[in-house]
């Protein structure tokens, strides 16, 4: 108990830069959502919207169409969580362009994002299939219970490591190339003095690397995460059909 009454406990809270940037992105998106909400309440429905509201309307329309297309009927209300996850994912992958630390380089951020999807999938599964949810653990025969319990965690692990590995690989490659280019430039232009000799090659090569590893890879990873979130309930749908067929019999 003594630990919790210590007044210095908040001073020992010392998050890394990745966590701070992640929280800042989340805060920015929350503020944007509040602004869009106020704008949407004040807007005149008879006039065409413009500016930020138009962008928000476009995003909602697209994601609703995507959800209806991929997940089918009965899952329309999933557009909301996708609209919450997509901007955060895309911003946290692409924030590396500005030189700030990418939140995905800290394992805690992709793990928590994957945990959101994991819990969502299982909660939806319980909600739609009720007690038949537990049937998946003894799927062919009850002996498979330990194996099914183990394989339940595989999607969580693969989703986490996919995002973390992609961001980390890009970051390591970019910093490796930058370091080597710096030393090449420093040895070629050594007559200029130690301050300015190492800056000549990096700005030429870095934009290409950032465009591929941050923008393109971030876009693809966001797409894949959204698809995986949206695609999972497909086997759920089969279960639901199975349940309803059994009830009809």
């Amino acid at each position: 108990m003594e630990k919790y009454s210590d007044p210095n406990i908040f001073k020992s809270f010392n998050p890394s830069g990745e966590i701070i940037i992640g929280l800042a992105i989340a805060l920015l998106l929350i503020v944007l959502a509040i602004i869009v909400g106020i704008l949407a309440k004040r807007a005149d429905p008879l006039k065409p919207s413009k500016g930020l509201l138009k962008l928000a309307e476009w995003a909602v329309e697209k994601l609703d169409a995507f959800t209806a297309d991929t997940m089918g009927a009965g899952f329309e209300n999933f557009g909301g969580i996708l609209l919450g996850i997509v901007p955060f994912l895309f911003l946290s992958f692409t924030i590396g362009i500005t030189g700030l630390p990418t939140p995905m380089n800290n394992l805690a951020v992709p793990l928590s994002l994957a945990l959101v999807t994991f819990i969502l999938i299982h909660a939806t599964s319980v909600r739609y299939t009720k007690w038949c949810y537990f049937k998946r653990f003894v799927d062919p025969i009850p002996i498979f219970l330990p194996m099914n319990l183990m394989s339940m965690w595989a999607p969580l692990l693969s989703m986490t490591l996919r995002m973390f590995g992609n961001a980390m690989a890009g970051w390591i490659l970019i910093s490796l190339i930058n370091t080597s280019l710096e030393s090449i430039s420093a040895s070629l232009f050594s007559f200029m003095g130690s301050g300015v000799s190492s800056i000549w090659f990096v700005p030429i090569v870095t934009p290409v690397l950032h465009a591929y590893f941050d923008l393109f890879s971030g876009f693809i990873q966001t797409l894949v995460f959204v698809y995986l979130t949206a695609e999972r309930p497909e086997d759920l749908e089969k279960e639901t059909v199975y349940v309803s067929r059994k009830e009809a019999m």
Partner: protein, 75 residues
């Protein structure tokens, strides 16, 4: 032979599986484009499932990359 040299050999061996993963990815894209050429009206659906498949296949390569990073920097 020093410890660092052995670590480098281990990391190099771990990244070999990325080659297998990229062969699989190449097969996937080749087949997808074949399907697109035969059936151009399915272009959109084939492209999106191709991207998902690529990402799923790529995961194996990323695992090997993570293992080699762990060998180099953590071990």
């Amino acid at each position: 032979m020093t410890d660092i040299g052995l670590k480098a050999i281990g990391a190099g061996l771990a990244i070999i599986s990325a080659g297998a993963s990229s062969i699989g990815e190449g097969n996937l894209v080749a087949k997808a484009i074949e399907g697109m050429a035969r059936n151009p009206e399915m272009y959109g659906k084939l492209r999106s499932s191709m991207i998902i498949g690529c990402a799923l296949v790529e995961t194996c390569g990323i695992y090997s990359l993570l293992i080699s990073i762990l060998i180099l920097f953590v071990l």
